[in-house]
Symmetry: C2
Subunit: 336 residues, 2 copies
């Protein structure tokens, strides 16, 4: 493929004029510009982004680290990131880590070698290792933004759902329907965003003079199977409740399975509300009432923060909090 010198020669100008035509067309005379464009087209010339990156120290790549693109929460996030990125001449490089610390580290290494301009971290687990991990990135001076995670003690930009309010609203929705005995199928409480959801639940109870009961809370992992097991465990200890607040759709799906097997009718015998609204939630029976996270917007906003700060040469320093919206479907009913 033709390079800048061949185009220059053929067009009878210096290579710098060709460069300008592609980067600062205004600085080039109209006729020259036309001539150069014609020659460039004829020769099939396209500026090498690699050579450009070499010179400018800017690759227009951003790295996106997340546990697993197969988790239905992420594709929309990824699409949001990539849509904003692409609109602004950036490309996204994805790294699936399966929450494996070694892989997270090697992904960063790879990104560093590749000279990416910034990093977005989606849904990393948030333990102590992740604090170290994030600090490592920040120390390198690479702009970064967190999605769907808040890591205490680290001063990072992030885009997050208002998890307190989501937990509050979900609970309030059940209360308004007449429920007073509301159990919680909880995602890992070591992760801040899930603690926030629980706090929201507690506050809603308090505001409506309902007593908080420790034995109404049961914790598992963010997996369908875990939702099943966690609910099973809970119901064995105590079946005196009329509604469930599941902290994520996955766990709600697991509950659905348990209920089906044990002939518990949703919502007749039991109301269920959840948080996420992934694709499947509208399709199961009964369709799941859930607090929809704005997944696409999360990705989009994160990319926006990141890229704006890259362009400004400033460190990203914005916290965006998104609302979770109640999607009323058919898994809850009014009682009493």
């Amino acid at each position: 493929m033709a390079n800048i010198y061949e185009v220059a020669k053929e067009a009878g100008v210096s290579h710098m004029t060709v460069s300008r035509v592609f980067n600062n067309p205004d600085l080039v005379g109209k006729n020259t510009r036309k001539k150069v464009m014609t020659v460039a087209n004829n020769l099939g010339y396209r500026p090498s982004q690699v050579a450009r990156s070499m010179r400018t120290k800017k690759t227009n790549y951003i790295g996106l680290i997340l546990p697993d693109i197969i988790n239905p929460f992420f594709p929309e996030v990824v699409r949001g990131v990539d849509d904003y990125a692409r609109k602004n001449k950036y490309n996204t490089i994805l790294a699936n880590t399966d929450n494996d610390y070694e892989v997270e580290i090697s992904s960063i290494e790879m990104f560093l070698n590749r000279g990416i301009d910034g990093i977005i971290l989606g849904g990393i687990a948030g333990g102590k290792k992740d604090t170290a991990f994030l600090n490592k990135i920040i120390d390198k001076g690479i702009p970064s933004v967190l999605i769907d995670r808040f890591i205490p003690d680290v001063n990072s930009s992030y885009v997050i759902t208002d998890n307190f309010k989501a937990g509050y609203d979900a609970t309030k929705y059940l209360i308004d329907l007449g429920h007073k005995k509301i159990v919680v199928i909880s995602s890992p409480q070591k992760i801040k965003i899930f603690r926030d959801r629980l706090e929201g639940y507690k506050q809603a109870l308090k505001d409506h003079n309902i007593e908080y009961r420790e034995d109404y809370i049961c914790e598992g992992e963010e997996l369908v199977e875990s939702g099943y097991k966690t609910f099973k465990k809970l119901i064995k200890k105590n079946d005196d409740f009329t509604a469930v607040f599941a902290m994520c759709d996955f766990m709600a799906f697991g509950m659905y399975k348990f209920c089906k097997e044990n002939n518990i009718k949703i919502p007749d015998d039991l109301s269920i509300i959840s948080i996420d609204d992934i694709f499947t939630s509208a399709l199961i029976t009964p369709p799941l009432t859930t607090m929809a996270q704005q997944k696409y917007e999360m990705g989009y906003a994160a990319a926006k923060i990141l890229i704006e700060s890259i362009e400004k040469g400033a460190f990203p320093d914005k916290k965006v909090v998104l609302k979770a919206n109640l999607i009323e479907r058919e898994s809850c009913r009014s009682i009493g």
Copy 2:
């Protein structure tokens, strides 16, 4: 960040020795190697992939073009591609096109500018424009592999499901259950893989002496809503059937919705089988019996073909046909 010269200076060797330590360690004496490694670590040196690409004309990037990562079929494919790629020191750049020809073209432009080493095309629509599109890529001399599509008249590598057999097996499964009146909710017949599924259906009918009826086939798009509408249209014309072969899970989901609304019990009143097996299919009620496509393997195999041919400097030239596996769940019943 330190560059190769600083490391060389600090280690008291030439920069070429440093380069060799990272690329051909065997050519360097053991002691020198150790010394260099130590210095490199201390200085936090990492070879610039950009500079390397500039020199070698190889970026170790592959481009992956697909309609939309949000479509639940693709995340697993992407993961398969990326897992193989990453294992072999390649990274994947994703481009969502929404099947928009302009976007497909501009994605290619972008990939070309970036100097990617090869392209994987997943699920592009397959019309005339796509033939031209694919030929364009091949003409550029860029190695490419198709996933989940066969484009007639273009000599390209591909990884595909045995769609004829998938259609055949799905139909035979219903026949073995005693069904003789089997309608088809079809995905677009302008796409070769769906025509193959229909051929499989026809052959299964033939092999079991069941007459093929034109009015048993109704065509729509690969969308939940379209499954709903297409089935509605079909059933209005003719409700004399006991089973449905839906060509993709999405359309089956749409049918589920219609059946629920119209009090048609699955599988009691109607048996449904489909092709795909996306995440949701196991969670709906009743769980959907479907021919599982090997999505991850598709991506993995495509990346393997592509990268092997990049490394060999040869043009990819392999056709991989994957089996679709029957996942027996609860949407079909035995009759008569």
